[in-house]
């Protein structure tokens, strides 16, 4: 991350060149915008709602240009009212619309916690009424944004039956998971990682994606150990796997994609082959997503495992602001590689 004072968001997210037209070489951020654009263009029922997403295009410029193209009725700026934003999405969804809300930072979803877990999550189970809302939120650290602009709230919501939670870790998934979320009849929280916005680039295939929302994917085959990760940590996991190849360790990397519900069959199939597993994520350790995966494996793959399932996560502290502290806090390719080395000798 550079200290370029003209970067396109409240926090610098990258030192990449300015955003260009969408092409073979697309950023994660552009892929999100493309999904929003395609949804707005193809489906009249879709609206975007949030703070500063209109004329300004959002704090990170994700919605840039969409208000200009689709107007006030489809791209709705609101007061700073996370409760009302969330509740109104529920009402609009039940009325036949497909609202996609943006929280300015994932940290602020804490203010809407009650509406999400009590209104949105439970209505279908109680009364059979689907609540097709999508709540987008820039999550994660790595940009020196401190304890209140860097949180990873996915596990809190993954604990709540009735909510789905996706955390794209690739450019294509930034697009696909968003479109699948809109198509899903349930409330879906979509945590986009702000450190990937301009740092992650790749080709993008636009168009309605096939497949289900809640599927994990083997993104790198391997034989010695299964490394499960998602979101920004996925890139670090892939980097660790790359490095370990040089050491003749063959790591299979599974991208979880959807952290609730979790696609256990895909993970289990891999772990039964490799007999070892590490889960790596940026959220803190205690009761992070890794806890559910490790305990599920410990129960269901007990006799397949040759070593304990390990977790590489942030420590159980708030996220420190200073880069020197944040680097030590976050999982890294090196920390993941070290854990793999430790695990395979057991």
């Amino acid at each position: 991350m550079a200290d370029d004072h003209r970067s396109a968001g409240w926090f610098d997210t990258d030192d990449a060149p300015p955003v260009g037209p969408i092409a073979g070489d697309t950023t994660y951020l552009e892929a999100i915008r493309a999904a929003l654009e395609d949804e707005l263009a193809e489906d009249d029922r879709v609206v975007l709602i949030g703070e500063d997403i209109g004329v300004m295009g959002g704090a990170f410029r994700v919605t840039e240009g969409l208000w200009q193209r689709f107007g006030d009725d489809r791209v709705i700026d609101t007061p700073i009212s996370e409760i009302a934003i969330t509740g109104s999405c529920i009402g609009m969804a039940i009325s036949g619309m497909r609202p996609i809300a943006e929280f300015q930072f994932a940290d602020f979803i804490s203010c809407a916690y009650d509406q999400l877990v009590n209104e949105a999550a439970k209505l279908y189970f109680r009364f059979g009424c689907p609540v097709p809302i999508v709540m987008r939120a820039p999550a994660g650290g790595g940009v020196g944004a401190g304890p209140f602009h860097s949180q990873s709230p996915e596990a809190v919501f993954a604990h709540c039956p009735g909510l789905k939670v996706v955390c794209p870790g690739s450019v294509q998934d930034a697009y696909d998971l968003l479109r699948l979320a809109v198509a899903d009849p349930n409330p879906v929280l979509y945590f986009e990682h702000k450190a990937l916005y301009r740092a992650l680039r790749g080709p993008l295939r636009r168009g309605r994606p096939d497949g289900a929302l809640e599927t994990a994917r083997i993104v790198r085959p391997g034989t010695d150990l299964t490394l499960v990760s998602y979101s920004a940590t996925l890139s670090k996991a892939l980097e660790a796997a790359q490095r370990l190849e040089a050491e003749d360790v063959s790591v299979e990397v599974v991208d979880l994609r959807c952290v609730s519900p979790i696609d256990f069959p895909t993970i289990a199939e891999s772990v039964r082959r490799t007999t070892r597993c590490i889960v790596a994520h940026e959220d803190t350790r205690t009761l992070g997503i890794g806890a559910e995966i490790a305990s599920w494996l410990a129960e269901h793959c007990f006799y397949d495992l040759d070593a304990p399932v390990m977790r590489v996560t942030s420590p159980d502290t708030p996220i420190p602001a200073a880069k020197s502290l944040e680097q030590a806090f976050l999982p890294s390719a090196e920390k993941i590689a070290a854990a793999v080395r430790e695990c395979i000798v057991q």
């Binding site: 409760i83 009302a84 609009m92 619309m97 109680r126 009364f127 689907p130 039956p161 009849p185």
Partner: protein, 350 residues
């Protein structure tokens, strides 16, 4: 937009048909709740029991001002709103008795009832969490051109919450077709108004948002009805939301377990003397309606409640499906939820 606080308005006429309709639903609401109290004493009712006794004029008077395709968001004292919008006495009894035979099939219970297909959003306990959702119904109506008005109720106590504030402010900003009704029954559980807020009228808060604020005698069903009807008309006409404060009194405990010993006896006596059903009966008699017609309403309702109790007691308990975890998420095939048809699709007044 200017915010004007309007004077309390008196009932302007006594439309006999309207009066009889109001009486029918208010009496039915009371007959059900009174019967529930008897059942509680008899040990025939599990769980808790809350009632809207003495407040029936508000949910009934207000909800009768809606069209079939409008939505109502009742809270725990608003059985009348559920009834007017189509929840049957048997369904309600089944909900209270933890039986099947009502929309949530025992997954939720008692006053947590409703059915979006009939235009009733089912409440949750958190006060007043239906309000932000009701705001969304309003926003959708404007954006989709549904011509739909959404009416939401809450108590005096709920006005102290963050959800209440965010909802009203955003409703005013977007000029949504919502009617927001506070049932000021002078207590939030044991907490009197003086411990809840430091102003004299909650309707005055309308001025803090930029919408009209109106006070009405909540024990005068016709006045409530007319006040809400005007607000509904304004909302439907694009004039935006209205905040209505209906004054009433919780003349019983918060729920059946509560003897309300913290409420001055005189206050209860004063308001019992202003019973909204008695008042409406009196007005109808004065307007020349024969006493027999009024007796017939009461008798019919009593019979209906008796039949409902029998049906509900005979209804089966819900049985665990064993696949509940698969029933938490709507399947991909889940279509759009069926709200009541828009006005021009021909919905009739209840």
């Amino acid at each position: 937009m200017t915010a004007a606080k309007q004077k309390p308005r008196a009932a302007t006429n006594t439309d006999v048909d309207l009066g009889l309709s109001l009486l029918h639903w208010m009496d039915l609401s009371r007959a059900i709740e009174d019967r529930l109290h008897v059942m509680k004493r008899q040990g025939r009712l599990p769980g808790r029991l809350v009632s809207g006794r003495g407040q029936e004029a508000i949910p009934v008077g207000a909800t009768l001002a809606l069209e079939a395709h409008d939505i109502v968001c009742p809270l725990h004292r608003d059985l009348g709103a559920n009834l007017v919008k189509g929840i049957t006495p048997t369904e309600f009894l089944c909900s209270y008795l933890w039986k099947t035979g009502h929309p949530s099939q025992g997954r939720d219970s008692d006053v947590h009832i409703g059915d979006l297909r009939r235009g009733i959003y089912p409440m949750i306990s958190h006060l007043p969490d239906s309000w932000p959702v009701a705001l969304g119904f309003g926003m959708a109506s404007t954006r989709l051109g549904l011509d739909r008005v959404t009416l939401a109720f809450c108590g005096d106590g709920a006005t102290s919450t963050g959800a209440w504030h965010e909802t009203l402010n955003m409703s005013a900003v977007f000029r949504t077709p919502n009617v927001w009704v506070i049932e000021n029954n002078k207590y939030a559980y044991s907490t009197p108004l003086a411990k809840q807020y430091a102003i004299t009228s909650l309707a005055d808060r309308a001025a803090a948002y930029g919408m009209p604020g109106v006070e009405v005698d909540g024990n005068d069903a016709i006045a409530v009805h007319e006040t809400v009807r005007q607000a509904v008309d304004r909302a439907r006409g694009g004039g935006g939301p209205t905040l209505i404060e209906a004054h009433t009194m919780r003349i019983e405990g918060h729920a059946v377990h509560d003897d309300a010993s913290y409420v001055p006896k005189e206050l209860i006596a004063e308001w019992k003397a202003r019973d909204p059903i008695d008042a409406l009966r009196g007005r109808l008699l004065a307007a020349g309606v024969e006493a027999e017609r009024l007796e017939a309403i009461a008798a019919d309702n009593k019979a209906a409640v008796g039949a409902a109790v029998a049906a509900a007691e005979a209804a089966p308990q819900p049985e665990p499906s064993g696949s509940e975890e698969q029933e938490v998420y709507a399947p991909p095939s889940a279509g759009d939820w069926v709200l009541p048809p828009a006005k021009d699709a021909g919905g009739a007044r209840p």
